[in-house]
Amino acid sequence: MKKIEAIIQPFKLDEVKEALIGIGIDGMTVIEVRGHGRQKGHKEIYRGQEYTVDLLPKVKLELVVPDSRVDEVIQTLAGAARTGKIGDGKIFVSEIAEAIRIRNDDRGEAAL
């Protein structure tokens, strides 16, 4: 099992969600986050006062999938989230040791 964490543009959330549901992924966690990567914050001027927006609002998606589906999910996710501009976000993949369904104690991929 792998955990896929994706930081994406907020306005792409619906599209990404639909694309994932389209390939049969129906469980995910969505978090509103703020942060920055290489797309550093920028300066805004309003009323003559300059201030830096260093943390940009983004959306983070978390999902855990069976090993066999990782590539497909990443492709779908990246395809749906891409605008080709700076700030599209990143995807991180990590190993998951165990998954347990609290209700009935299913283990491993059966719990996903």
Partner: protein, 830 residues
């Protein structure tokens, strides 16, 4: 019905099944509660006789306390026992006690127990006030009667001496509990015990009633709440039987199941919940009134404050103990406006209406409804209330007394209306009131990002209009087809016509309602870095003024969806959206000009080259009047019109454009002692300048001397044609500097990227007489030609947006810095 997870008592299963069956057939909760108390009594007494009675022949009594003491035992509620003892049990007695508890626990009772001597029972332990409160409902089950009598003798004395402490404690607990549920009973999935207006509030009322029984200010028994009690008890009973445990949350699934029960009137979950809210509202209202009446009575500071507030009384209303009373309630039918003045009074001082005044209003409600059903300019009173600092207090009072529904019968459509979606936590009426509160809250000092939104509200020229839009924005929610915006718009249009809101204001309010979802949709699902998105939104908003109000109602509407809906994340996105659209609208001012390409005629020629904003802010009548002015200007070089509207003077000048024109006009107005609130200036392709000033007349010079208006027109005409110098006019005036509020540090920005042909200068400074003249003169002296001006002054702060060119081009960067310095000095008044 899920399976039994836990047996409710040691009574035979059949007896328990019978209780449940009877309840589900009849919905009679009182019967079920009594039956369970009796079953538990049997079990407890049997165990007592078998285990404790032999071990403790004397010196111990068993008391039922709390809900069990009241014989108010819900199917899966805890059973509270108190062991009254002479001395703390030890040895064999202690073992017997443990055995007794274990047996009952094993047989399925969830017990909570305490062991106390009569003396301990009659002392107030700050860490365990709950024990004293549970003892209010005690009854003897078994054991040493003499010991029990000792307690019974001490108890009333104790209650009497600590009455106020217990009362304060109860009230504080209730307030904390209400705060936990955000002070509203209108949760979509309420906890029928704990939510405001739930069973806990009924208990509170009973406890206060018992505590103060026999005293001069004993509360009136809450007899009117009988139906609410039966209803809430039946719901809780059902929830317990449904879950097989102490579950009090009326979830959506539970609502559906309950609505299908035979003892519930037909109508489905929606009708059921409406009944729930009506009962909860009644309970909540009585509970709040009672808490207010009893809390903190022995604090002299509090009394003094109340006494001081009573000085606010006037010839129509009296303030007693922080509540408003009518002086002559009999006048209501002859003068229904008195009711609105009452709420205006509440909005001004933040004092709630007394129960007595509420009763009087309800008595006369038919007369009030009759009066308000006729079309009259009721908007004036409503706008006055919205402008006051405590408007939400008044609005809630109007809602609760039915006055709001009398004024806006459309309001009835959304009262206690449930929206079943994942996000909304409140019914539509509560959501609406919470939105108006969120907006009003921005008047108070705010921290962080909220301070930006508070700034927008302080700049809104008519803050009552976004509030009015919020009040009406969801009235169409009752419509079934899901397009509530369109229905709200239709309903609001009719309502606003009936309360005779003037056309210009009405179209602004309707605009806000029509677009109240646009910005929040953009925040969640649009790329805010995409210029096309921003341009579309700028086009939709049209002007900065409308954009600001739209941002405000979006902020308030989202904040009122649920307590965490306006997350810092959303707030950040909404603010960035505002900045981007604001910048686009400012840019457009200079770049987006009217080109009637091909269209001929006098009006087309007149409009050619004006910023597109001109047509967005001026009505057809105004354009016609300006055209007339332009005709006169062509003959005589300049033409001036001064008009009084809504307490301010609108001064319009048409003249052939020339250097220093704007500065001279601003100077001349300052020379007359007039303060410029708003100004816009631009010229068309033919070189005609049109300058519009909204000015206030703080010395009432124009109002008291009609001849001065003529002199002003005459002077402005001569200044516009260069026959009179503004500087001479100003020198004749004594220089007087006024300070309003805290000093605002002046700020000046120059931006060469906003437009292709001109430099954008933005000045923010503390307002003072002659400020605009000083700024404009500084620009003229630097050789700049003023292309477009937009000035706003609110709450002592002037925000000036000016586009300038020099010799038809932008200012070079190096000159810009020198000009910035000069403007800063002018703005600071040095």
């Amino acid at each position: 019905m899920t399976g039994e997870k836990q047996r409710s008592s040691i009574a035979p299963e059949t007896a328990w099944d019978e209780v449940r069956g009877r309840f589900l057939a009849t919905g009679d909760a009182a019967g079920a509660l009594e039956a369970r108390s009796a079953l538990v009594d049997e079990a407890v007494l049997a165990a007592w006789r078998r285990i404790l009675a032999p071990a403790c022949p004397g010196g111990m009594a068993l008391l039922a306390v709390g809900g069990y003491g009241r014989r108010d035992l819900f199917p899966y509620s805890d059973v509270d026992l108190l062991f009254l003892v002479e001395t703390p049990p030890a040895g064999e007695r202690k073992q017997a006690l443990a055995e007794f508890l274990r047996v009952l626990w094993d047989e399925g009772l969830r017990l909570s127990h305490s062991v106390r001597t009569p003396k301990e029972c009659c002392g107030l332990d700050d860490n365990n006030v709950e024990l004293s409160i549970s003892l209010i409902d005690q009854r003897l089950l078994a054991g040493d009667r003499a010991l029990y009598e000792t307690f019974r003798r001490r108890w009333p004395r104790f209650l009497h001496s600590r009455r106020q402490d217990l009362t304060d404690h109860l009230c504080r607990l209730a307030r904390e509990r209400h705060a936990k549920y955000h002070g509203t009973f209108q949760h979509l999935e309420p906890d029928v015990k704990e939510t405001p207006g739930g069973l806990r509030d009924l208990h509170l009322l009973e406890w206060l009633e018992r505590l103060h029984a026999g005293t001069e200010d004993a509360p009136r028994p809450a007899g009117e709440l009988g139906p609410a009690r039966s209803f809430l008890s039946a719901v809780r009973c059902f929830l317990h039987f449904r879950a097989g445990r102490d579950d009090n949350r009326l979830s959506f699934e539970a609502q559906e199941e309950l609505a299908r029960q035979s003892f519930v009137p037909a109508g489905g979950p929606a009708a059921l919940m409406r009944r729930y809210y009506l009962h909860a509202r009644a309970v909540h209202r009585v509970a709040e009134r009672t808490i207010d009446a009893y809390e903190g009575r022995h604090s002299t500071l509090f009394r003094d404050f109340r006494r001081w507030r009573s000085r606010l009384s006037n010839n129509e209303f009296t303030v007693i103990r922080e509540r408003i009373y009518f002086r002559s309630p009999a006048a209501i039918p002859h003068d229904p406006e008195l009711v609105l003045r009452l709420f205006e009074f509440a909005a001004r001082h933040g004092i709630e209406v007394s129960p007595d005044a509420e009763r009087r209003i309800r008595e006369h409600l038919p007369a009030i409804e009759n009066y308000f059903s006729e079309s009259r300019p009721h908007w004036v009173a409503l706008a006055r209330i919205f402008k006051l600092p405590h408007a939400p207090v008044a609005l809630r009072g109007m809602h609760e007394t039915g006055v709001l529904a009398a004024l806006l019968p459309e309001w009835k459509n959304v009262e206690c209306l449930v929206v079943r979606d994942f996000y909304h936590r409140y019914t539509v009426d509560e959501h609406t009131l919470a939105a108006v509160e969120a907006l009003a809250d921005l008047r108070r000092p705010q921290q962080g990002r909220r301070a930006n939104f508070a700034g927008l509200l302080s700049e809104s020229p008519e803050p009552e209009l976004p509030a009015l839009a919020l009040l009406l924005h969801d009235l169409g929610k009752a419509a079934a087809d899901g397009n509530h915006t369109r229905h709200s718009l239709e309903i609001a249009d009719r309502a606003l016509e009936r309360i005779q809101l003037p056309l210009r204001k009405r179209s602004h309010v309707l605009f806000l309602i029509e677009h109240h979802l646009d910005l929040s949709a953009a925040v969640t699902s649009r790329d805010l870095d995409d210029q096309a998105v921003i341009r579309n939104l700028a086009q939709m908003a049209g002007t900065v003024e409308r954009l600001k109000d739209l941002v405000l109602i979006t902020y308030a509407d989202v904040s009122a969806v649920n307590p965490s809906a306006m997350s810092p994340w959303r707030m950040e996105r909404l603010w960035r959206l505002y900045l981007a659209v604001h910048q686009e609208l400012t840019r457009e001012l200079e770049t987006d000009r009217i080109h009637s390409a091909g269209a001929s005629g006098e009006q087309a020629a007149f409009l050619e080259g004006f910023p597109r904003r001109y047509l967005r802010v001026h009505s057809a009548e105004e354009v016609a009047a300006h055209l007339e002015l332009a005709r006169r200007a062509q003959q005589r070089g300049a033409a001036v019109r001064v008009e009084r509207r809504n307490g301010v003077y609108e001064v319009t000048v048409a003249a052939s454009d020339r250097p220093r024109l704007f500065a001279s006009l601003a100077g001349a107005l300052a020379g007359f002692g007039l303060n410029i609130l708003e100004a816009e200036a631009f010229s068309n392709a033919a070189g005609l300048a049109l300058d519009v000033f909204d000015v206030e007349d703080p010395n009432r010079n124009l109002e008291l001397n009609p001849a001065e208006v003529e002199r002003l027109e005459w002077t402005l005409e001569r200044v516009a044609t260069g026959r009179l110098r503004a500087r001479d006019l100003l020198q004749a005036r004594p220089s007087r500097r006024r300070r309003r509020g805290a000093g605002i540090e002046p700020r000046v920005t120059l931006d060469n990227s906003a437009s292709e042909t001109a430099t954008l200068i933005e000045v923010v400074a503390e307002d003072r007489p002659g400020l605009l003249y000083q700024l404009a003169r500084t620009l003229s002296e630097a050789g700049c030609n003023i292309e477009v001006v937009l000035v706003e002054t609110r709450a002592g702060k002037a925000i000036d947006v000016i586009y300038v060119t020099r010799e038809g081009r932008k200012l070079p960067g190096a000159d810009g810095e020198a000009l910035r310095e000069a403007l800063l000095e002018a703005a600071a008044g040095r």
